[in-house]
Symmetry: C2
Subunit: 358 residues, 2 copies
Amino acid sequence: MTKTVPKYIEIADWLRQNIQDGTFKTGERLITEHSLCEKFNISRHTARSAIAVLEKEDLVVRRQGDGTYINLDVGAKQKNIGLLLTDSSCYTFPNTISGVEEVLSAKGHRITLALSQNKVEIERNQLLSLQAANIDGLIVEAVKSALASPNLDIYKDFAAQNIPVVFVNTYYPRLDCNYIINDDVEASRIATGHLINQGHQKIGGIFKLDSIQGALRYEGFVNKLYGQNLKLDEHRVLWYSDETLDYLFSNEQFPLLSEALSDCTAVLCYSDRVALKLIEASPKLGLRIPHDLSIASFDDSILSRLATPSITSVTHPGPEMGNLAATSLLKMIEIPSHKMQHAYTPTLTIRDSVRDLS
Amino acid sequence: MTKTVPKYIEIADWLRQNIQDGTFKTGERLITEHSLCEKFNISRHTARSAIAVLEKEDLVVRRQGDGTYINLDVGAKQKNIGLLLTDSSCYTFPNTISGVEEVLSAKGHRITLALSQNKVEIERNQLLSLQAANIDGLIVEAVKSALASPNLDIYKDFAAQNIPVVFVNTYYPRLDCNYIINDDVEASRIATGHLINQGHQKIGGIFKLDSIQGALRYEGFVNKLYGQNLKLDEHRVLWYSDETLDYLFSNEQFPLLSEALSDCTAVLCYSDRVALKLIEASPKLGLRIPHDLSIASFDDSILSRLATPSITSVTHPGPEMGNLAATSLLKMIEIPSHKMQHAYTPTLTIRDSVRDLS
DNA sequence: AATTATTTGTGCGTATGTATC
DNA sequence: AGATACATACGCACAAATAAT
């Protein structure tokens, strides 16, 4: 039953153990081939085969006429970390990258970057490509996280290969995984609560339907409304996906948009991007912001700061999130049992897009 | 005198030649070890050593009980491309990345990303790290390109190792290199020309002193002024570097800034970022934009679109630049003699920050 | 389903070459 | 110059995996 392990593999294992234990110190000479033969009573060829294994692993360097030396960088080996993000045009993109990069480059590791364009097919290809690139860990932004993903098998492959994965911003609820996110339900409660505090009662919403963040922000929205004994009028809620955002603000959809908003005094927008689109469309809708319609949104990005009027928006952790993701991932590489599931508690940055009705 | 080449190396060379010639077709079985022994009248051990060389080069795969197969991806091997950018907070950053990524991932290559934070020391470390990462090519944004770089030796190393390098956005003038840039002199002429056309004669400038782009934009600025028989008053020109930008707009430097601008009807700003800072500082300076002071700048970014007033700005190629860089680099990997030095001709996007005095 | 031939993998012994200290 | 250590090379035997019969 016991599968026979080749001698040279056993001896390679023994050598590797001793290198990692520190019995053979880094930079020093390894035991010579001849000594190895005597010690284990093996042929020279077998000894050489064993050392060849370590050489291929970059653990040792052979120098003819001199000896075999243990590579200096044992344990401190440069890791290759995959970073798979959805969308370069998203304003969280540079933040996430710089947060991750800061931690990894400080420790001499490197980043293999890929983009999924928020498409599951591309995500699949990129995951396969990253697998082929021999990454030691992966930081990834889930694609269309609210919908069933066809790529969970690959994520499970990573787990089976003991390659740790950390999700940032979004994650797949059906997958038992590590993630670092904003507390989107709470974020939405905060923003909705602010609108209610300012005297708004007829509040609409524009949410993203394919991202789990959309579902969570909707949850917080509904949650807060009912908590304050307000009713949710579903006619005031609009849903979009990456593919239909422009369509939602197009001329064809204008009546729908107009009708949904005409009944509201305030709207909660899924993101600053959406809020900005709404502000830009407001003249056409005959609505002055915030006089006729107040807007609150998410991400507290440069858009919310520069828009006219500036937009009241819930904060996003920014580079810190990438930071924590990278730190956690490195810990998981060291200690495979390490887990990380973290949600940041956001705050609200109040600007000029909400009118006080009270 | 002739250095004796080991038999197994010779035979490995012979095999490699035949693989690359197509004599042994990809995907097919290589000649068996036994046949190789007979053909060259060598021992099996030597034959195995020869094949081991090719195996290490990933040219062949051995399958016990079956045979040795030539790897399918000879020549079409996944390349590892280094991408070293300066600053993630710069608005060209996502554009450059997505342009590069689009081309490379379409061909199955991968990107090793690093950031230099526009610091030469960090650039050096990252270049060394990229060298260790075995990249097949490098796309890089030069750090402080107007100043003497201590890292040109590494760039020369890359050249010596036949690893092609393409600079984007900026390059080192002292290095004979491939680059893809915006035509900054022309860009500056266009912007300055527009200010002059709108009747401005007292025109100031705020330029970046450590980037070659700063020097080129200054050149275009001066060039156009003198071309239109206007004089350059050096009191109206301010210089900054990444480290001193905030200082320039600080309270301590306020008198300097105020004095330089009080004499102008228009200012040419090095970037939308600077223009925005100036707009934000304008109330403190007692200047209404564009009524008292007109502003033109560079990059045509989201900032210029959203600022109040919106900023007249010279266009930047955007993702196209990264696109061309990646395409060129791949061509250089294929054909080492290939060169690329390209400058985009920009245009001007006119917005609300320039007042017509005529 | 079992056998057989083929092919690569593991292992031993020996000898000589070559680089380094 | 000599000792030492790794590199190359020959020959043999058997194990393990695969494909074809």
